[in-house]
Amino acid sequence: MNISGVEFIKGCSAIGAGLALIAGIGPGIGQGIAAGHAASAVGRNPGARSDITSTMLLGQAVAETTGLYGLLVGMILIFVQPLAK
Protein backbone atom coordinates (compact mmCIF):
# COMPACT_ATOMS: atom_id res chain seq x y z
CA MET A 1 0.00 0.00 0.00
CA ASN A 2 1.47 3.27 -1.12
CA ILE A 3 0.60 6.41 0.75
CA SER A 4 1.57 9.73 -0.78
CA GLY A 5 2.83 12.56 1.40
CA VAL A 6 -0.36 14.62 1.07
CA GLU A 7 -2.55 11.67 2.05
CA PHE A 8 -0.33 10.98 5.04
CA ILE A 9 -0.65 14.60 6.15
CA LYS A 10 -4.44 14.45 5.70
CA GLY A 11 -4.66 11.34 7.84
CA CYS A 12 -2.49 12.91 10.51
CA SER A 13 -4.71 16.02 10.34
CA ALA A 14 -7.73 13.84 11.11
CA ILE A 15 -5.91 12.32 14.09
CA GLY A 16 -4.95 15.81 15.22
CA ALA A 17 -8.57 16.93 14.95
CA GLY A 18 -9.60 14.05 17.16
CA LEU A 19 -6.91 14.95 19.67
CA ALA A 20 -7.96 18.62 19.61
CA LEU A 21 -11.48 17.64 20.64
CA ILE A 22 -10.13 16.23 23.93
CA ALA A 23 -10.55 19.88 24.90
CA GLY A 24 -14.24 19.03 25.28
CA ILE A 25 -13.55 17.29 28.60
CA GLY A 26 -12.80 20.49 30.50
CA PRO A 27 -15.96 22.43 29.65
CA GLY A 28 -18.02 19.31 30.29
CA ILE A 29 -16.68 19.05 33.83
CA GLY A 30 -17.01 22.80 34.36
CA GLN A 31 -20.58 22.97 33.11
CA GLY A 32 -21.51 19.99 35.24
CA ILE A 33 -20.08 21.64 38.34
CA ALA A 34 -21.91 24.88 37.51
CA ALA A 35 -25.21 23.06 36.97
CA GLY A 36 -24.77 21.08 40.20
CA HIS A 37 -24.13 24.19 42.24
CA ALA A 38 -27.06 25.93 40.58
CA ALA A 39 -29.29 23.00 41.50
CA SER A 40 -28.19 23.13 45.13
CA ALA A 41 -28.68 26.92 45.12
CA VAL A 42 -32.24 26.51 43.83
CA GLY A 43 -32.80 23.89 46.52
CA ARG A 44 -31.66 26.33 49.19
CA ASN A 45 -33.49 29.35 47.81
CA PRO A 46 -36.29 28.41 45.39
CA GLY A 47 -37.43 32.03 45.14
CA ALA A 48 -34.29 33.07 43.27
CA ARG A 49 -34.78 30.42 40.60
CA SER A 50 -34.81 32.70 37.54
CA ASP A 51 -31.77 34.69 38.66
CA ILE A 52 -29.83 31.50 39.38
CA THR A 53 -30.78 29.99 36.03
CA SER A 54 -29.66 33.02 34.04
CA THR A 55 -26.40 33.26 35.98
CA MET A 56 -25.77 29.56 35.46
CA LEU A 57 -26.41 29.79 31.71
CA LEU A 58 -24.09 32.78 31.42
CA GLY A 59 -21.32 31.02 33.32
CA GLN A 60 -21.75 27.83 31.35
CA ALA A 61 -21.64 29.69 28.05
CA VAL A 62 -18.40 31.38 29.09
CA ALA A 63 -16.93 28.08 30.29
CA GLU A 64 -17.86 26.54 26.96
CA THR A 65 -15.48 28.86 25.10
CA THR A 66 -12.34 26.80 25.65
CA GLY A 67 -14.07 23.71 24.31
CA LEU A 68 -15.19 25.67 21.29
CA TYR A 69 -11.61 26.70 20.58
CA GLY A 70 -10.72 23.04 20.44
CA LEU A 71 -13.66 22.43 18.14
CA LEU A 72 -12.50 25.24 15.85
CA VAL A 73 -9.01 23.76 15.67
CA GLY A 74 -10.49 20.40 14.80
CA MET A 75 -12.73 21.84 12.11
CA ILE A 76 -9.92 23.84 10.56
CA LEU A 77 -7.74 20.71 10.50
CA ILE A 78 -10.43 18.65 8.80
CA PHE A 79 -12.15 21.06 6.42
CA VAL A 80 -9.59 23.75 5.61
CA GLN A 81 -6.51 21.50 5.82
CA PRO A 82 -3.83 24.16 6.21
CA LEU A 83 -1.06 21.56 6.52
CA ALA A 84 -1.80 19.69 3.31
CA LYS A 85 -1.34 22.74 1.08
Binding site: S54, L58, A61, V62, Y69, L71, M75, F79, V80
Partner: protein
Protein backbone atom coordinates in the same frame (compact mmCIF):
# COMPACT_ATOMS: atom_id res chain seq x y z
CA UNK B 1 -12.18 22.16 -0.37
CA UNK B 2 -13.76 19.02 1.04
CA UNK B 3 -11.75 15.89 1.45
CA UNK B 4 -13.20 12.68 0.08
CA UNK B 5 -14.05 10.74 3.22
CA UNK B 6 -16.78 8.15 3.26
CA UNK B 7 -19.80 10.34 2.70
CA UNK B 8 -22.98 9.45 0.88
CA UNK B 9 -23.41 13.00 -0.33
CA UNK B 10 -21.06 15.77 0.63
CA UNK B 11 -22.16 17.85 3.61
CA UNK B 12 -22.79 21.36 2.43
CA UNK B 13 -22.16 24.08 4.97
CA UNK B 14 -19.32 26.10 3.47
CA UNK B 15 -19.65 29.74 2.53
CA UNK B 16 -20.08 29.95 -1.22
CA UNK B 17 -19.13 32.85 -3.47
CA UNK B 18 -21.94 34.03 -5.73
CA UNK B 19 -20.09 36.50 -7.90
CA UNK B 20 -16.89 38.47 -7.70
CA UNK B 21 -15.85 41.92 -8.80
CA UNK B 22 -12.65 43.93 -8.85
CA UNK B 23 -12.18 46.72 -6.32
CA UNK B 24 -8.84 48.59 -6.17
CA UNK B 25 -7.11 45.61 -7.75
CA UNK B 26 -8.55 43.15 -5.23
CA UNK B 27 -11.04 40.44 -6.02
CA UNK B 28 -14.05 40.90 -3.75
CA UNK B 29 -16.63 38.16 -3.44
CA UNK B 30 -20.32 38.50 -2.76
CA UNK B 31 -21.01 35.37 -0.71
CA UNK B 32 -23.99 33.58 0.79
CA UNK B 33 -23.29 35.48 4.00
CA UNK B 34 -24.07 38.80 2.31
CA UNK B 35 -27.28 37.45 0.85
CA UNK B 36 -28.42 35.96 4.16
CA UNK B 37 -27.53 39.15 6.05
CA UNK B 38 -29.56 41.13 3.52
CA UNK B 39 -32.53 38.80 3.96
CA UNK B 40 -32.31 39.18 7.74
CA UNK B 41 -32.10 42.96 7.36
CA UNK B 42 -35.10 43.03 5.03
CA UNK B 43 -37.09 40.95 7.54
CA UNK B 44 -36.22 43.32 10.37
CA UNK B 45 -36.89 46.43 8.28
CA UNK B 46 -40.25 45.09 7.13
CA UNK B 47 -41.23 44.39 10.71
CA UNK B 48 -40.09 47.85 11.78
CA UNK B 49 -42.02 49.58 8.98
CA UNK B 50 -45.18 47.59 9.72
CA UNK B 51 -44.97 48.43 13.41
CA UNK B 52 -44.28 52.08 12.62
CA UNK B 53 -47.29 52.40 10.32
CA UNK B 54 -49.52 50.60 12.78
CA UNK B 55 -48.26 52.65 15.69
CA UNK B 56 -49.08 55.95 13.98
CA UNK B 57 -52.66 54.84 13.41
CA UNK B 58 -53.15 53.45 16.92
CA UNK B 59 -55.35 55.33 19.32
CA UNK B 60 -53.41 55.51 22.62
CA UNK B 61 -56.64 55.36 24.66
CA UNK B 62 -57.75 52.15 23.01
CA UNK B 63 -56.64 48.56 23.42
CA UNK B 64 -53.46 48.13 21.30
CA UNK B 65 -53.64 45.86 18.26
CA UNK B 66 -51.68 42.61 18.03
CA UNK B 67 -48.61 43.96 16.24
CA UNK B 68 -48.19 46.84 18.67
CA UNK B 69 -48.56 44.38 21.54
CA UNK B 70 -45.75 42.24 20.16
CA UNK B 71 -43.49 45.25 19.62
CA UNK B 72 -44.20 46.51 23.13
CA UNK B 73 -43.44 43.08 24.56
CA UNK B 74 -40.07 42.91 22.77
CA UNK B 75 -39.16 46.45 23.77
CA UNK B 76 -40.17 45.90 27.38
CA UNK B 77 -38.20 42.66 27.59
CA UNK B 78 -35.04 44.27 26.22
CA UNK B 79 -35.47 47.32 28.43
CA UNK B 80 -35.84 45.16 31.53
CA UNK B 81 -32.82 43.08 30.57
CA UNK B 82 -30.58 46.13 30.11
CA UNK B 83 -31.92 47.91 33.19
CA UNK B 84 -31.40 44.81 35.31
CA UNK B 85 -27.69 44.73 34.51
CA UNK B 86 -26.71 48.37 34.03
CA UNK B 87 -28.98 50.17 36.46
CA UNK B 88 -29.14 53.89 35.93
CA UNK B 89 -26.77 53.91 32.94
CA UNK B 90 -29.19 51.76 30.97
CA UNK B 91 -30.87 54.58 29.04
CA UNK B 92 -27.74 55.37 27.02
CA UNK B 93 -27.02 51.80 25.96
CA UNK B 94 -30.42 50.22 25.54
CA UNK B 95 -30.53 51.17 21.85
CA UNK B 96 -27.20 49.55 21.02
CA UNK B 97 -27.83 46.42 23.07
CA UNK B 98 -31.33 46.00 21.63
CA UNK B 99 -30.06 46.42 18.08
CA UNK B 100 -27.35 43.78 18.36
CA UNK B 101 -29.65 41.49 20.35
CA UNK B 102 -32.37 41.51 17.68
CA UNK B 103 -29.89 41.20 14.81
CA UNK B 104 -27.96 38.33 16.38
CA UNK B 105 -31.11 36.51 17.43
CA UNK B 106 -32.72 36.67 13.99
CA UNK B 107 -29.39 35.74 12.38
CA UNK B 108 -28.97 32.74 14.65
CA UNK B 109 -32.44 31.35 14.12
CA UNK B 110 -32.41 32.06 10.38
CA UNK B 111 -31.13 28.49 10.02
CA UNK B 112 -34.77 27.53 10.49
CA UNK B 113 -35.68 29.45 7.32
CA UNK B 114 -33.18 27.44 5.31
CA UNK B 115 -30.56 30.16 5.25
CA UNK B 116 -26.97 29.69 6.26
CA UNK B 117 -26.85 31.73 9.50
CA UNK B 118 -24.83 34.92 8.86
CA UNK B 119 -23.29 34.62 12.32
CA UNK B 120 -21.66 31.34 11.23
CA UNK B 121 -19.20 33.52 9.32
CA UNK B 122 -16.30 35.01 11.24
CA UNK B 123 -16.54 38.09 9.04
CA UNK B 124 -19.86 38.95 10.69
CA UNK B 125 -19.07 38.21 14.31
CA UNK B 126 -15.64 39.84 14.44
CA UNK B 127 -17.05 43.30 13.49
CA UNK B 128 -19.73 42.85 16.14
CA UNK B 129 -17.01 42.08 18.68
CA UNK B 130 -14.91 45.04 17.53
CA UNK B 131 -17.88 47.45 17.75
CA UNK B 132 -18.51 46.27 21.30
CA UNK B 133 -14.82 46.59 22.11
CA UNK B 134 -14.72 50.18 20.78
CA UNK B 135 -17.75 51.05 22.90
CA UNK B 136 -16.16 49.48 25.98
CA UNK B 137 -12.84 51.25 25.45
CA UNK B 138 -14.51 54.60 24.72
CA UNK B 139 -16.50 54.37 27.93
CA UNK B 140 -13.43 53.33 29.86
CA UNK B 141 -11.54 56.42 28.70
CA UNK B 142 -14.58 58.65 29.18
CA UNK B 143 -15.42 57.64 32.75
CA UNK B 144 -12.08 56.60 34.25
CA UNK B 145 -9.94 59.22 32.45
CA UNK B 146 -6.60 58.09 30.87
CA UNK B 147 -4.87 58.14 34.26
CA UNK B 148 -7.47 55.78 35.70
CA UNK B 149 -7.17 53.47 32.69
CA UNK B 150 -3.39 53.33 33.12
CA UNK B 151 -3.82 52.68 36.82
CA UNK B 152 -6.30 49.90 36.04
CA UNK B 153 -3.82 48.31 33.64
CA UNK B 154 -1.15 48.20 36.37
CA UNK B 155 -3.64 46.71 38.80
CA UNK B 156 -1.83 44.33 41.12
CA UNK B 157 1.73 45.37 40.21
CA UNK B 158 3.18 47.60 37.46
CA UNK B 159 4.86 44.73 35.63
CA UNK B 160 1.43 43.14 35.15
CA UNK B 161 0.82 45.67 32.32
CA UNK B 162 1.46 43.40 29.29
CA UNK B 163 -0.77 40.65 30.67
CA UNK B 164 -3.58 43.13 31.35
CA UNK B 165 -3.17 44.54 27.84
CA UNK B 166 -3.47 41.07 26.33
CA UNK B 167 -6.51 40.47 28.51
CA UNK B 168 -8.11 43.65 27.20
CA UNK B 169 -7.45 42.85 23.56
CA UNK B 170 -8.72 39.29 24.02
CA UNK B 171 -12.20 40.69 24.71
CA UNK B 172 -13.37 41.17 21.08
CA UNK B 173 -11.70 37.92 20.00
CA UNK B 174 -13.36 35.83 22.67
CA UNK B 175 -16.74 37.57 22.24
CA UNK B 176 -16.78 36.95 18.51
CA UNK B 177 -15.23 33.47 18.56
CA UNK B 178 -17.75 32.24 21.12
CA UNK B 179 -20.71 33.30 18.99
CA UNK B 180 -19.10 32.12 15.76
CA UNK B 181 -18.06 28.69 17.02
CA UNK B 182 -21.41 27.96 18.63
CA UNK B 183 -23.43 28.78 15.55
CA UNK B 184 -20.92 27.13 13.22
CA UNK B 185 -21.00 23.93 15.26
CA UNK B 186 -24.80 23.90 15.04
CA UNK B 187 -24.70 24.46 11.29
CA UNK B 188 -22.08 21.75 10.76
CA UNK B 189 -23.98 19.32 12.96
CA UNK B 190 -27.22 19.85 11.03
CA UNK B 191 -25.44 19.59 7.68
CA UNK B 192 -23.77 16.33 8.74
CA UNK B 193 -27.07 14.94 10.00
CA UNK B 194 -28.87 15.78 6.77
CA UNK B 195 -26.16 14.47 4.48
CA UNK B 196 -24.89 11.36 6.26
CA UNK B 197 -28.00 9.53 7.39
CA UNK B 198 -30.57 7.60 5.33
CA UNK B 199 -33.76 9.40 4.41
CA UNK B 200 -36.16 7.78 6.89
CA UNK B 201 -34.48 9.36 9.93
CA UNK B 202 -34.79 12.77 8.34
CA UNK B 203 -38.54 12.89 8.96
CA UNK B 204 -39.58 14.45 12.26
CA UNK B 205 -36.38 13.76 14.20
CA UNK B 206 -34.43 16.81 12.93
CA UNK B 207 -37.05 19.10 14.44
CA UNK B 208 -35.73 18.30 17.92
CA UNK B 209 -32.18 18.97 16.74
CA UNK B 210 -33.32 22.24 15.16
CA UNK B 211 -34.92 23.28 18.44
CA UNK B 212 -31.66 22.65 20.26
CA UNK B 213 -29.07 23.88 17.74
CA UNK B 214 -30.97 26.79 16.21
CA UNK B 215 -33.44 28.04 18.80
CA UNK B 216 -31.87 27.18 22.17
CA UNK B 217 -28.23 27.65 21.26
CA UNK B 218 -28.96 30.78 19.23
CA UNK B 219 -31.02 32.39 21.99
CA UNK B 220 -28.44 31.51 24.65
CA UNK B 221 -25.58 32.91 22.60
CA UNK B 222 -27.51 36.12 21.90
CA UNK B 223 -28.15 36.49 25.61
CA UNK B 224 -24.51 35.79 26.44
CA UNK B 225 -23.17 38.26 23.87
CA UNK B 226 -25.43 41.06 25.11
CA UNK B 227 -24.87 40.16 28.76
CA UNK B 228 -21.08 40.18 28.42
CA UNK B 229 -21.13 43.46 26.48
CA UNK B 230 -23.26 45.03 29.19
CA UNK B 231 -21.07 43.65 31.97
CA UNK B 232 -17.91 44.96 30.31
CA UNK B 233 -19.48 48.39 29.80
CA UNK B 234 -20.66 48.48 33.41
CA UNK B 235 -17.13 47.57 34.48
CA UNK B 236 -15.73 50.33 32.30
CA UNK B 237 -18.09 52.92 33.75
CA UNK B 238 -17.19 51.84 37.27
CA UNK B 239 -18.70 53.09 40.50
CA UNK B 240 -20.01 56.55 39.73
Amino acid sequence: MMNPVLLANEPDFMIKGIFSYQLFGQTVWITTTHVCTLIVMILLLTFAFCVNRKLKKTDPYDAPPMLVNIAEFIMEFLNNMVTGVMGKNAAKFVNYISTIAIFILISNISGLLGLRPPTADYGVTLPLGIISFCLITYNKFKWQKPVGVLKGLMEPWPFWLPINLIGDFAVPVSLSLRLFANILSGTVMMALYYSLLPFFVKIGIPSALHVYFDLFSGAIQTYVFCMLTMTYISDAIGET
